[in-house]
């Protein structure tokens, strides 16, 4: 019997409403008991982790990191991506199907699961394509993909353009209680765009992606979710208008949830003045007004999830002319720290709210294990050092790619121990000993 005793940490579990100092016993891959003393018979032979001054939370879960395998192994692999996830404190990730070939068949879902098992790091839950070949024309075989292990459906960076297809997807996915993930973007309004449409794009002469392109699609998606009763998760909502539309839809009882990633509550379109492609993201870095609206929507619960939007690209792909460089940034290893630094330490979110958006809500949306410290639940636990100060340094990242917009930034808070299914996957030195 493998046992882990986590002693003296601040236990935060949004699922049970727990926020108190205590100890936690993990046994045989499950949360076994609370407040067992180290000399108790049940703790015999357990690995003891001293978690004093640490936060003990349900393991972090990321919706939508891009792992690039198969087809983009120069950017990331399932092996390197799951290593980066563990380094960032994640116990589970739901990776996207925008690979080459895309994940739109039972066999390709099984390939992802097989590679994840070989890597043997965090849990990997495949997201599969909504449409065959991500072409936006015909539904993929959603039933068989679900049986193979797909937890959600998305065409990722090919937003579902055809309203009829999305309507069918909502109806069909609801049979399997699976969410449809869409990136809200009206592509006619964003074609050729490089950055947010605003004062900065005007000055720089860069073609732009207007906020309305996001707002209009959020409206459409919410309406279709409402009429079908389907479950909609908007991967990223980044505009003032968009947050308001989601807020109103939730008020009406639409089954809509949404996420946002750290660049959008930390940075604005001003960063593009450097013409540095590391700031070229989609959705793009928005205006300060949008950033404030995103923070407000995080605080009032309109935004349910904070995701990494991990989009790794090999250096030579990003080091191109701004219109040629791909959209996206790595994020698995910096998301937790930016949440702590920009939201928790800044007094904008409580620890419970932060953990809810990083773990409990993603587990609930995806319907996967984790997101809770209930006795009997799978032992996916992240122990966080809330005061660890560190500087984001590109060459120290575990990911194969280094395209981070936060290079050189001083941040606070870091995962110091990650337990997946009762197995310690990562510790910083000196935090545990044998009982």
């Amino acid at each position: 019997m493998s046992r882990i005793l986590i002693l003296g940490g601040r236990l935060i579990d949004p699922d049970q409403g727990i926020d108190r100092v205590g100890s936690l016993l993990v046994s045989d891959g499950h949360i076994a008991a609370y407040d067992i003393p180290a000399d108790h018979a049940d703790a015999e032979g357990a690995v003891v982790i001293d978690a004093a001054d640490r936060i003990v939370a349900p393991g972090l879960i990321d919706i939508g990191p891009e792992l690039r395998e198969p087809g983009g192994e120069e950017d990331e692999t399932i092996e390197s991506g799951t290593a980066a996830a563990i380094a960032g404190g994640y116990t589970a990730i739901a990776c996207t199907p925008n690979t080459d070939p895309p994940i739109d068949t039972q066999g390709s879902v099984e390939f992802v699961l097989h590679q994840a098992a070989r890597a043997n790091r965090c849990r990997v839950h495949p997201i599969a394509c909504v449409s065959k070949n991500r072409a936006g024309e015909e539904l993929a075989e959603i039933g068989q993909l679900t049986e193979a292990g797909a937890v959600a459906f998305s065409d990722v960076d090919a937003p579902i353009h055809n309203a009829e297809l999305l309507r069918r997807a909502f109806q069909y996915c609801s049979m399997f209680d699976r969410p449809v993930l869409n990136r809200p973007e009206v592509i006619e309004l964003t074609r050729g765009g490089v950055m947010h449409d605003g004062d900065v794009s005007l000055m720089l002469g860069l073609s732009s992606l207007p906020a309305a392109a996001e707002d209009v699609m959020i409206s459409r998606d919410c309406s279709l979710a409402e009429t079908t009763g389907g479950r909609l998760h908007l991967t990223q909502v980044t505009t003032a208008g968009g947050t308001e539309i989601v807020r109103r839809a939730k008020h009406r009882g639409v089954h809509v949830t949404c996420g946002v990633s750290p660049p959008h509550f930390t940075l604005t379109d001003e960063m593009l003045r450097s013409f540095d492609s590391r700031y070229k993201l989609n959705p793009p870095l928005r205006s300060e007004m949008d950033r404030q609206a995103v923070i407000e929507a995080l605080a009032d619960g309109t935004i349910d999830v904070i995701c990494s939007s991990h989009a790794p690209y090999a250096a030579e792909k990003k080091l191109q002319e701004l219109d040629q460089a791909p959209f996206g940034a790595v994020g698995l290893e910096t998301t937790l720290s930016l949440v702590v630094t920009e939201l928790v330490a800044a007094g904008l979110l409580t620890w419970t709210e932060a953990i809810k958006k990083l773990s409990t809500n993603p587990a609930c949306i995806l319907g996967v294990p984790g997101g809770t410290l209930r006795v009997g639940a799978a032992a996916d636990v992240t122990i966080i050092d809330p005061s660890a100060d560190w500087r984001v340094t590109e060459h120290e990242l575990t990911s194969l790619s280094r395209n981070t917009p936060f290079a050189g930034r001083d941040v606070q808070g870091r995962a110091c121990c990650v337990i997946v299914n009762g197995e310690i996957k990562r510790t910083s030195t000196g935090t545990f000993s044998q009982a």
């Binding site: 050729g192 004062d199 000055m203 002469g205 860069l206 013409f275 191109q320 701004l322």
Partner: protein, 326 residues
């Protein structure tokens, strides 16, 4: 070719003035008013010392500049080439109408290859804003922006201002209208940044699809009716419609555009008596300007071309010329 003139004697300095500390010229937005005045002053001195940019001088003897043009250009490339040669420098051309990536090489590798042949400066034109800035971050030599998409074309902005200065002595408190496709115009942006710093009033005028109201935030007047502004203007700079940069057609027809925005005899009748008519070229007669206006007495279009040479000589010398030791 006339005899070689010693620039150092005529300009009364042998080294680049200490006010100029820049290695690159990427845009006018980041320059101070004093730096802009310095370039214009040096350009005027060079022009008079070289009989209107006809004489060759030895200011850049032994230096080599490379034209790195990823977009079609005749006038700007010729102008930079002549400017470097008039200063005694060598010029090499590297032109490509496509991204270097089509050959499997990144633009940075292409530029570094050129630099390894001991270039002192690369003059870059590219369809994408920020590409000269990307090169400046990755190269040791000087980078001169010869137009980065719709962003900036600093030497065009400077030559436009120099032309106004020659006629009016100052740009302060003059009203300068930029008419046409402001959205896609690097000439417009460089003019706006330069003119505002030197105290001019700037109006941008054109269809609402090509002229954003947002410019008002930056102290620029926005107009959509040319007839209303013409009587107030000291200078009208008529910009070309950049069809090649437009994602969607921003107006119903060229005929309608010309009807609303072409500078023609009828509009000249309501203009100031001493109005200056400018155009960065290439000009489209019958679209933004009628032939009689382009060739008329108020037109300074060809003077702009000569001043382009003077400005580019000044910029090359300031960025690559000898500096005071220590």
């Amino acid at each position: 070719m006339s005899e070689t003139v010693d620039l150092s004697e005529d300009l009364e300095f042998t080294c680049v003035p200490s006010l100029w500390q820049r290695k690159h010229l990427l845009g006018l937005e980041e320059l101070t008013a004093a730096e802009i005045r310095l370039i214009l002053d040096v350009a005027a001195q060079i022009k008079s010392a070289t009989a209107g940019c006809r004489d060759r001088v030895s200011a850049l003897n032994g230096r080599t500049v490379a034209n790195l043009f990823f977009e079609n250009s005749t006038r700007t490339k010729t102008s930079f080439t002549l400017a470097a040669k008039r200063l005694g420098g060598d010029v090499v051309d590297f032109s490509s109408n496509t991204s270097s990536l089509s050959k499997g090489e990144t633009i940075i590798d292409t530029a570094k290859t050129l630099e390894a042949m001991n270039m002192d400066a690369v003059i870059v034109r590219h369809r994408t804003p920020g590409t000269p800035h990307l090169l400046a971050q990755n190269l040791e030599c000087s980078v001169i922006n010869a137009g980065d998409g719709p962003h900036e074309h600093p030497t065009q902005g400077l030559l436009d201002i120099l032309t106004i200065l020659e006629h009016r002595g100052t740009v302060e408190d003059l009203t300068v209208a930029l008419v046409g496709d402001i959205s896609h115009s690097r000439t417009a942006r460089s003019n706006i940044f330069g003119l505002k710093k030197l105290g001019a009033r700037v109006i941008v005028c054109g269809p609402a699809t090509l002229v954003s109201r947002r410019w008002e935030k930056f102290g620029v007047e926005v107009a959509h009716n040319l007839d209303e502004i013409v009587p107030r203007c000291d200078v009208l700079n008529l910009l070309r419609i950049q069809f090649e940069r437009q994602q969607t057609r921003p107006f119903p027809s060229v005929r309608e555009y010309a009807h609303l925005y072409a500078m023609n005899r009828r509009r000249m009748a309501i203009a100031k008596d001493n109005v200056l008519i400018m155009a960065p070229g290439p000009i489209n007669r019958g679209v933004e300007i009628s032939a009689d206006v382009a060739d008329g007495e108020h037109s300074v279009i060809l003077e702009q071309v000569t001043n382009g040479l003077a400005v580019r000589m000044a910029v090359l010398w300031l960025c690559c010329g000898p500096r005071e030791i220590g």
